[in-house]
């Protein structure tokens, strides 16, 4: 396989973007990405578009809305979908295009427009990403699934509501420093703990946001990467794995099998282990998900995730800084864009362009992106040149 590098990044403002449609959000990210790389769209061989919900986009093949609007035709456009992992599946699809030699320069776009529908409808669309026949009849929602995971983890390992809230406090702190974040504000532990319950025991500040937003990266073959970029960031590991649709069919609710398997593939491919990771973005759709991600990725022992955040080891300066862009919690979670946004944050960190949030001398970074309750997870490992 050929080497593949990220040579351009473009991040739109995440938030309630009532000023823009899906296609217009995508344009913002694409324009920023091409400018960052100093490339014109004509030079790009193909594109991959990650959009999770046709229901959110009010139409089938929403990716055509995007390639039409940015003027990318008649070249190839691959649309991919994997709920909240859609963006990372777009990246791995782009990676396969370049690594295989099918293309030299690929534009990877993730975009979602979630606030055009009311919150209750968004909650329903997301809830049906679980088992629509056997779980949804019990009124399940995404916070509901992760609340069940949280109760299982708390019962087995003694993880506390305080520890969950500490994840939120951290991610809001870093979100306050990220101009692209939906909620640029710090919160206190007390505020998180006294917010209303969304699904017991998860409270408002344990939950990520419903967001509009887009992100794009340009990836290139070795030859093109060296010509385009002074600081190409190499994709050295890429793993994807799956698990059962229904929570009730899993042996364990306290870890996410697809995440462990995807990490195993990515670590092996990159020839590194958890101790070699300098900075990570993990899928904190809910605070419990970040704690479980610490464990599944090997940043701590099984059951010790709560203690890792309590000891502030996932802050900049700690043992393994995690989600120092604000995470899904504070930056926002436009589901199709999230995985691409994670790749952008890691690229910035490895380029040394993360400003106040910079992890000193970061050489190797990891992005972990979970779809649904773990029906699919993608893990990428990046290294600077």
């Amino acid at each position: 396989m050929r080497k593949v590098a990220v040579v351009g990044i473009g991040h739109g403002k995440f938030g309630v973007r009532s000023d823009a449609s899906l296609r217009e959000l995508a344009f913002e990210a694409v324009k920023a990405c091409l400018d960052d790389a100093g490339i014109s769209l004509k030079e790009v061989d193909s594109m991959v578009t990650g959009i999770a919900g046709d229901e959110f986009a009010f139409g089938l093949q929403p990716s055509a809305q995007v390639h039409d609007y940015i003027g990318f035709y008649p070249k190839p456009n691959f649309r991919v979908e994997g709920a909240c992992a859609t963006g990372s599946i777009a990246l791995i699809t782009g990676y396969m295009n370049v690594a295989s030699g099918l293309a030299d320069l690929v534009l990877v776009i993730g975009v979602e427009k979630m606030t055009e529908v009311p919150t209750s409808i968004a909650t329903e669309i997301m809830g049906k990403a679980g088992d629509a026949i056997w779980e949804y009849p019990f009124g399940t929602t995404f916070p509901g699934y992760y609340a069940m995971i949280a109760n299982a983890h708390m019962a087995e390992y003694g993880t506390t509501e305080d520890q969950l809230a500490m994840v939120s406090v951290k991610n809001h702190y870093y979100g306050s420093l990220n101009p692209y974040a939906q909620m640029q504000k710090e919160i206190t532990l007390e505020k998180a703990l006294t917010s209303y319950t969304v699904a017991y025991p998860l409270k408002l500040y344990d939950c990520s946001l419903i967001t509009d937003g887009a992100a794009a990266v340009l990836i290139a073959s070795e030859e093109r990467a060296k010509a385009i970029s002074k600081k190409p960031i190499w994709i050295v590991g890429a793993g994807i794995a799956t698990d059962t649709l229904r929570l009730g069919d899993r042996k364990s609710l306290t870890s996410i099998l697809s995440a462990k398997e995807a990490a195993k593939i990515a670590y092996k491919m990159a020839g590194v282990g958890p101790a070699n990771i300098d900075v990570a973005t993990v899928h904190d759709c809910f605070t419990i998900a970040e704690i479980i991600a610490y464990e599944d990725l090997g940043f701590c022992e099984k059951g010790e995730g709560g203690k890792l955040i309590q000891a502030k080891e996932t802050y900049v300066g700690g043992r393994i800084p995690v989600n120092v862009d604000g995470g899904l919690k504070s930056k926002g979670h436009p589901i199709g864009a999230t995985g691409v946004s994670m790749a952008i944050e890691i690229t910035k960190q490895l380029r040394g362009e993360a400003g106040e949030r910079q992890v000193k001398n970061a050489e190797t970074g990891l992005a972990h992106n979970v779809g649904g309750t773990g029906q699919v997870t993608a893990v990428h490992i990046f290294r600077r040149g």
Partner: protein, 145 residues
């Protein structure tokens, strides 16, 4: 019985018998005649050996609660509409749900209508029962033994 009385959205499936048995008070699993693998929820096809020769078998409803929650912000389908009458309010009190592990590691999801969520504990012994609702739908409830 129309499968949609249980599933809410889907009526076309090979395991429609499940709802008829549920309405008659029984939890039914399917078992692969070739390899013996047991499925709840029932499957018409065996993903263990790729055969489709299955038999129905009743299972018990007693087990251990694996996990639970109470969803305060429901999906639109279950949402209570605000009243149109001025100055009036509705107090919405949702019902907890849980996942009960019964025989052979199979897990039954159900509503827990009779318990305060703060008193529900992982590991509790509970019993699942089918329950016919006033609107003709069929569902499953869990209660402590």
């Amino acid at each position: 019985m129309d499968f949609r009385n249980f599933s809410l959205h889907i009526s076309q499936t090979k395991v429609n018998r499940f709802v008829d048995e549920l309405a008659a008070g029984k939890f039914m699993a399917t078992v692969c005649k070739k390899c013996g693998k047991k499925y709840y929820p029932p499957k018409a096809d065996c993903s263990n050996c790729m055969e489709s020769d299955m038999e129905w078998r009743q299972m018990g409803g007693r087990g251990t609660l694996e996990t639970f929650t109470k969803i305060y912000v429901p999906p639109d389908h279950f949402a209570v509409r605000p009243p149109l009458m001025p100055f009036s309010t509705i107090q919405f009190e949702p019902c907890p749900i849980g996942l009960l592990e019964v025989e052979d590691g199979l897990k039954i999801m159900g509503w827990i209508p009779k318990m305060d969520v703060k008193k529900i504990k992982v590991g509790m012994k509970m019993k699942a029962s089918p329950q016919l609702l006033p609107d003709g739908k069929i569902t499953i409830v869990l209660e402590p033994i």
